[in-house]
């Protein structure tokens, strides 16, 4: 079992997603426990994998026994193991939450297919993280994206239009990635990442390799919604069902950021990405623009979910900025921020889903005295919000601290200024919500009556509380997380 874990972690959600349909047609109520079983076994396997990687080094799993570089290899090092834990943990938490929220937001007959596609998405994302083969990565990227399109499309009445734009943009991104794979294949004849690392250095000045690199970066930048290629994201994530927004916002962009890090620092050597081309310089400025733009747009929104989507655009900027400064602190900050941001995003989107569940809307200006109605949910909201702003001792503080250290170390003072300024704007955005929920008097004439306490069902409340408390725990344990996993992910030469 331990040896087969890298294959099982993808096979289990994939198989159960298909079993879901016949089982669900017989008994609809079985879909939910099946999904929980699948995501929980992914979580368990991801911990086994991480344990193996930490204690006995990197895993190289040969599919069908074919040796790399001919066969498909699942190569797992510290970065993969770390990302696998994040994605499977988030998928487990969201699947626990999904039951009541989905029953409220979707038609009954769609629930079976929701769980099927949800597990497909999980399988696709875990596949991207486990594989050590560039073309295999493309296939998993498309499995995840197609499942993502379908999940976004079942949202509210504006969802089809948003999905259409998402499909067009996503396909361009995937095709650019595929072209990059093709160009690398022409010059090296290999698709295996570890093999390419060895074959590429003598070819770094070949124009084909440069074009391949450009295609990769632009393709992945579309997938992670890096400004100015973010246009699909706010619409798609606003109009998707709450559960879907929470999962997709927390994982899709982060897995894309993983793919970007892999391509920049494993397929190509850090020296190529940092020195041969001005990629990191450009990415750094683009990321700064993303931070500013995302936060400014977030301030202008009245829809809570849309505001979070724009903050996500800014958060992608943070991650890319940390990678682009090209030093140890910045990279550590980025990788830590992938974890923190996916937890903060999942927490905030789940809380938005809870507000939707009880209030039926998510207009920031109409959330009167929610703290009396839903004290636990709103308490979690405050913790997640201050973590997003970056107040110690919450998780968000530590990753931003490393990001700023990295920018200072690289003497990019503008980036430091942009980082602080955008954190300030995030603070303003969240205090706007806190002001309107906690302090604004209700326009309702019965304001003298105390609103009754009315929390969401336990199966929705528990995931919110667990993930928010874990934000504090990650904050306290961030030193240990860096020691045991993240410091091994920093590429050589930093």
């Amino acid at each position: 079992m331990k040896e087969q874990a890298p294959a099982l972690i993808i096979a289990i959600p994939l198989l159960i997603s298909f079993i879901n349909i016949p089982v669900g047609l017989l008994r609809r109520s079985l879909c939910y426990p099946l999904t929980i079983i699948a995501t929980f076994s992914c979580l368990y396997l991801s911990f086994i994998i991480a344990d193996t990687v930490i204690n006995s080094g990197n895993i190289s799993y040969r599919l069908g026994g074919w040796e790399p570089p001919w066969g498909i290899e699942y190569a797992i090092d510290h970065l993969n193991a770390y990302m696998l834990i994040i994605v499977s943990l988030v998928s487990f938490v969201v699947s626990v939450y999904s039951k009541k929220s989905i029953e409220k937001e979707l038609a009954r007959e769609k629930i079976i297919y929701f769980y099927t596609i949800y597990l497909l998405l999980v399988a696709g994302l875990l596949g991207i993280l486990a594989t050590g083969d560039l073309f295999n990565l493309f296939v998993f990227l498309e499995i995840a994206s197609l499942a993502g399109y379908a999940l976004v499309a079942i949202g509210d009445k504006r969802a089809p239009l948003a999905t259409f734009n998402y499909i067009i943009m996503g396909t361009i991104g995937a095709c650019f990635y595929l072209l990059g794979v093709g160009y690398l294949y022409i010059v090296t004849g290999s698709l295996n990442i570890a093999d390419l690392t060895k074959l590429l250095p003598p070819l770094y000045h070949s124009r084909v390799v440069l074009v391949a690199f450009a295609f990769f970066i632009v393709g992945v930048a579309i997938k992670i919604a890096l400004f100015p290629l973010h246009t699909w994201l706010p619409d798609a994530y606003t109009h998707a069902p709450s559960t879907v927004s929470a999962f997709v916002a927390a994982t899709m962009t982060k897995v894309g950021a993983y793919a970007m890090i892999r391509i920049m620092f494993t397929v190509f050597e850090p020296s190529f990405s940092l020195e041969t081309l001005p990629t990191t310089e450009i990415l750094g400025w683009v990321a700064s623009a993303a931070m500013m733009f995302g936060c400014i747009m977030a301030l202008a929104q009245n829809d809570l979910k849309r505001m979070l989507a724009y903050i996500l655009v800014a958060e992608v900027g943070y991650i890319v900025m940390g990678v682009s400064v090209g030093n140890r602190e910045g990279f550590t900050g980025s990788v830590l921020h992938i974890l923190n941001d996916s937890f903060m995003m999942v927490s905030l989107f789940l809380i938005t889903g809870a507000i939707m569940y009880k209030e039926g809307h998510r207009n920031i200006n109409n959330l009167f005295s929610l703290h009396k109605k839903m004290p636990i949910t709103m308490g979690c909201f405050i913790i997640a919000a201050i973590s997003m702003v970056g107040v110690p001792p919450t998780a968000g503080f530590f990753s931003k601290w490393y990001l700023i250290l990295g920018a200072i170390d690289a003497q990019k003072w503008f980036f430091v200024a942009f980082l602080l300024l955008s954190s300030l704007m995030v603070a303003v955005a969240f205090f706007r919500i806190i002001q309107s929920t906690f302090f604004k008097p209700s326009e309702n004439h019965n304001a003298h009556e105390e609103p009754l306490r009315d929390e969401v069902p336990f199966s929705m409340l528990l995931p919110i509380v667990v993930i928010t408390v874990s934000l504090l725990i990650i904050g306290f344990l961030s030193g240990q997380i860096i020691d045991s996993l993240i410091q091994h992910t920093v590429p050589k030469g930093f």
Partner: protein, 134 residues
């Protein structure tokens, strides 16, 4: 003359670039959503052409499963210049599956859009959305 050779000698790559640009243009500039999807399909097909072109070889290369009978027994039956690289073809089989499913999902979304707005023109849908907002 050199430029002519460059263009004619690599005509399949030129076709791939032209096809890709046609698809790209349709995706960006067309007002009709169905045309955008067709553009997306052309764009993807261009990539298939590109991959298949990379596998081709001049000088009588054939498909790998046919063994050459001219070689003496004991000599290596197949050497690399004698067969086309099969891997890009196999990759494209997978990519075609991916493309067909993308096309299918896009068509399904297109049907949702049509049922909702009774039109597929982008400007008309935008006008409807604006009216809904007011």
């Amino acid at each position: 003359m050199d430029t002519m050779d460059f263009i004619i000698g690599k005509y399949n790559y030129w076709i791939y670039i032209v096809l890709m640009m046609i698809g790209f243009y349709a995706m960006i500039a067309k007002n009709n959503f169905a045309k955008k999807i067709v553009g997306m399909n052309i764009f993807q097909t261009a990539i298939i052409l590109f991959f298949i072109s990379t596998a081709s070889k001049t000088g009588g290369a054939t498909i790998p499963i046919i063994k050459s009978e001219h070689l003496a027994a004991g000599a290596q039956a197949i050497t690399a210049p004698q067969y086309l690289n099969p891997l890009p073809h196999v990759l494209m089989l997978t990519a075609i599956v991916v493309m067909v499913s993308t096309f299918g999902v896009a068509l399904a979304v297109l049907m949702m859009l049509y049922r909702k707005y009774r039109t597929l023109e982008e400007d008309e849908i935008m006008a409807i959305l604006k009216m809904e907002k007011d």
